[in-house]
């Protein structure tokens, strides 16, 4: 359901400069942020009640808002962090999404290193189509479902009590990060089941031999191909075969293809001549 542009209470809307994507290009405009809706001025001239929003994604300094029951209206908005932060908060707390009050700790571990000052924050979790959002007074964290690398319903010692938590491993800015969610068990189970279902595609069902597992571990740790070859005493060809296995199982993706070359007769001639000229 679309609302008429100008239907919202103008006096209650704070108008801020932004850019929106219109007909394939970014155009400057103003975005009005109200209590129950936001407005995008010309050229879009649209008002979007937060409750009609079905998805919210974030990419660098822009957000992508999908609204409407059929999810066909998509708005790409770019602005300064402060503006986007206010808009995101309104959307997340009112959008058409599964929402729960919870405590969360994100990130708790980054790249295998415990974050020393990580603490539990009270806030709202909104489960959207393509990701889950954590919002507290100070933080807005989005975990895109495609970046979720593992979910576990486990227990954690909190204030000297063992409490159930959902542990989420996910990718964030090229790091592997662990976040925790704490809420009543019934809600936790719903969240866990949803995430399990939504990330079903990334579950590993194949049998992985020890050597391939070791290579995967070294790639995870950030080792390059030559370090892996040296560490595991593998030839370039052996490692390529293992990479192929990882690619086939969709456990890895090609970052770039490195070329191995050997000199042609012309190349050899160049080297011979350059050495000769150095000796002269």
């Amino acid at each position: 359901m679309k609302y008429q542009y100008g239907e919202g209470d103008e006096a209650q809307m704070k108008s801020v400069p932004a850019k929106v994507e219109h007909e394939g290009r970014w155009v400057p405009t103003k975005v009005g942020i109200g209590e129950d809706r936001f407005r995008i001025d010309a050229p879009l001239k649209e008002e979007i009640p937060y409750k009609t929003v079905v998805n919210l994604e974030e990419k660098k300094n822009q957000i992508i808002v999908t609204a409407g029951a059929d999810g066909t209206a998509t708005y790409r908005i770019a602005s300064v962090e402060k503006v986007l932060s206010v808009l995101k908060k309104f959307i997340i707390t009112q959008a058409s999404a599964y929402r729960l009050n919870a405590f969360f700790m994100s990130p708790a571990v980054r790249g295998g290193v415990l974050i020393h000052d990580a603490r539990w924050e009270k806030g709202t979790i909104a489960v959207m189509k393509t990701g889950i959002w954590f919002v507290s007074q100070e933080k807005q964290v989005c975990i895109p479902l495609e970046d979720v690398a593992g979910i576990e319903l486990t227990s954690r010692e909190i204030q000297e009590k063992d409490l159930n938590v959902v542990k989420i491993d996910h990718l964030s800015e090229n790091d592997v990060v662990t976040s925790f969610v704490l809420c009543p068990m019934t809600t936790l189970q719903v969240l866990y089941n949803f995430l399990k279902e939504a990330t079903h595609d990334t579950e590993v069902s194949e049998e992985i031999d020890p050597l391939t597992g070791q290579v995967a571990m070294l790639v995870y740790s950030g080792m390059d191909s030559s370090s892996i070859e040296n560490m595991l005493k593998l030839s370039h060809r052996d490692l390529d075969a293992i990479y192929e296995k990882l690619l086939d199982m969709r456990l890895a993706e090609v970052l770039y293809v490195r070329k191995e070359v050997q000199l042609t007769a012309k190349g050899v001639r160049y080297i011979s001549e350059s050495v000769k000229s150095q000796n002269e």
Binding site: G111, G112, V113, T154, E157, Q214, M217, M223, M231
Partner: protein, 120 residues
């Protein structure tokens, strides 16, 4: 850059850590595969920092940590363990660990933690 002793019962993890730390410009002065060897190597080599696995045969990492701290209260030790054993953190910190890394880990983050502990 520091002189580091790596303690882990699996050669694979020792080699991985060695590579990571070496790439960060650190000097790997020794390795140990259990807690008993860790204490002996520590006293012999006097490293600037120890990375210590928790689950090891003979004497585990927590006991080795306590023994090293008893021998040298200024010892800098980073504990290292698998996912799911985060409960050990409290015990390790209480026993004097300066840092904690969880396997699997990523090289840049490990180097960052090592740098933090060495400069503390």
């Amino acid at each position: 850059m520091g002189r580091i002793l790596i303690v882990d019962d699996t050669m694979f993890m020792r080699t991985l850590l060695k590579n990571i730390l070496f790439s960060g410009g650190h000097d790997i002065v020794g390795e140990a595969a259990d807690g008993v060897e860790a204490l002996a190597r520590y006293q012999e080599l006097k490293p600037d920092l120890v990375t210590m696995d928790i689950v090891m045969p003979k004497v585990n990492g927590i006991e080795a940590l306590k023994a090293i701290k008893a021998a040298d209260p200024s010892a800098k030790i980073i504990m290292c363990t698998a996912v799911g054993q985060e409960q050990m953190v409290k015990l390790a910190v209480k026993s004097g660990a300066k840092g904690y890394i969880v396997k699997p880990f990523q090289a840049p983050k490990v180097l960052e933690e090592v740098k933090n502990v060495l400069s503390a």
